[in-house]
Amino acid sequence: MMKKILQYGLIISIGFPVLFLLMLSIGRRWPYPALFPLEMSFSNWEFLQQSDSKLFQAFFISLGISLSVAFIVTSIGFLISKFIAYSKQRNTFLVLAYIPYLLSPVIMAVIFQYYFIITGLAGSFFGVIIAQFLIAFPFGIIIYDNFWNSQLKSIEELSYTLGGTRIQTYRKVLLPLSKNAIMLCFFQVFLVSWFEYGLTNLIGSGKVRTLTVSVFNFVTEANIFYAALSCCLLILPPMLLLYINKRFIFFVEKTNQ
């Protein structure tokens, strides 16, 4: 009984905000004390197609930045984290990895900004990718750190003594075993990048207009209907990732056992 209550509680706590956002995104004119908006139509969604709205553009810019950052951090982090995990200076490297989060990404962005301006990277798509990489990379290292352990090292060494080259060992042993860690890192870094606002706004200098930046703009303009509309776009990829994670990865793992 308790379990069911908790399950329903969880579904409602996730489902209600999503439904509320959807309702807001199709709403118009909501004066006090009306319980619901007075008009409901998809005219707000037509706003997505208008060339001056640039919401679609913002969506694809965000997608491009987040996928790039997630891909780069996941692949480079995999190799570097292995080196760090087996290094004698592991603890020192891990303390360094926490620094961006102790200082907060926005403060890091203020520190970076000068260098991005003199290198001409400020206000550019690649500048934002590099800035987000600098923040997300330590996060990737922290995610991977627990994955590398003495047992995995022994399995790797065993593969070598069985005749496996480094490439063969990565391809046939380490990568299949690290599938979950890789997916976890990719999803987490994607989400960090996708919802990143302060650093993106500062390094992007208002020229790189991501979806998160657009949402904040609508919020500051007190345009709740357009803010809700862009929020619907904003939660779409995370929901999709959650579905892929549950439907394919978790399910495949269970059937393999």
Binding site: Q151, S154, I155, E157, L158, S159, Y160, T161, L162, G163, G164, T165, Q168, K172, V173, P176, L177, N256, Q257
Partner: protein
């Protein structure tokens, strides 16, 4: 005549700690040398150096009279087996045994023939399609042996392979290993801290203590050495019997 494996003057330090000091060892082809040693005696480090997974500070390793110091682990054809079976969790029993053969890119028919024969010898034919998590500790260790033996290594290094098994399974595994080692003419270094297991498994016995190794030419020499602790064991059981 040169011994099959000849280890000369191996030294190893980790920081300031001396792990191995002037270790000398020789092994004839198709024989098993039991290495007795307690925890921290340096036996695992010695095996890892022979396998190429660690490098010694000083000393030579000769296989068939050829120095293999500079060879990578994958070039030595020496398999190191850990106390745990360490089966690849994403592969079933058949694929675990086939692993080394697939690395060599042998024909599928040859792989199937060799793996099927190995599984038959191990008594594991009916478990070929099971994943490691579906096997018992003893079954996992059998597959681990099969995976090592099927590639016909020059030398097998076993680091307390039965240490995690219960006494009944351990006895069965000892018998299985002895019969397989004999049938397949395997040369091996068998590390254990169990005196009885060392005597049962080895054609020869060596003892490693605080990084220094003493190799006995015959089991009789080992028995006669008052420091070998065989007499302590005999006295223990005699006292039990008399009381």
């Amino acid at each position: 005549m040169n011994p099959f494996l000849d280890i000369q003057g191996i030294y190893k330090k980790f920081g300031k700690d001396s792990i191995l000091t002037d270790v000398n060892l020789h092994l004839k082809k198709n024989t098993v040398l039991s290495l007795l040693g307690s925890s921290g005696s340096g036996k695992t480090t010695l095996l890892k150096i022979i396998a190429g997974l660690e490098t010694q500070d000083k000393g030579e390793i000769l296989l068939y009279g050829k120095n293999i110091n500079r060879q990578k682990p994958q070039q030595r054809n020496i398999v190191y087996l850990y106390q745990e079976a360490l089966l690849f969790p994403h592969l079933d029993a058949f694929e675990n045994v086939a692993f080394g053969l697939r690395l060599k890119k042998l024909k599928e028919s040859v792989i199937k023939e060799k793996v099927d024969l190995m599984l038959k010898n191990l008594g594991m034919t009916n478990h070929a399609s099971k994943m490691p998590s579906q096997l018992s500790g003893g079954q996992r260790q059998r597959i681990s042996f099969g995976r090592a033996m099927v590639i016909e290594p020059e030398l097998l290094l076993l680091d307390e392979p039965f240490g995690a098994l219960d006494s009944s399974t351990r006895g069965k595994m000892q018998e299985l290993f002895k019969s397989l080692a004999h049938a397949m003419q395997i040369s091996a270094l068998f590390v254990t801290h169990d005196l009885k297991e060392a005597i049962v498994m080895g054609d020869q016995i060596g003892k490693i203590k605080k990084g220094e190794l003493l190799q006995y030419e015959t089991k009789k020499d080992f028995f006669n050495d008052e420091h070998s602790e065989v007499h302590k064991e005999i006295d223990f059981w005699t006292n039990i019997k008399n009381n």
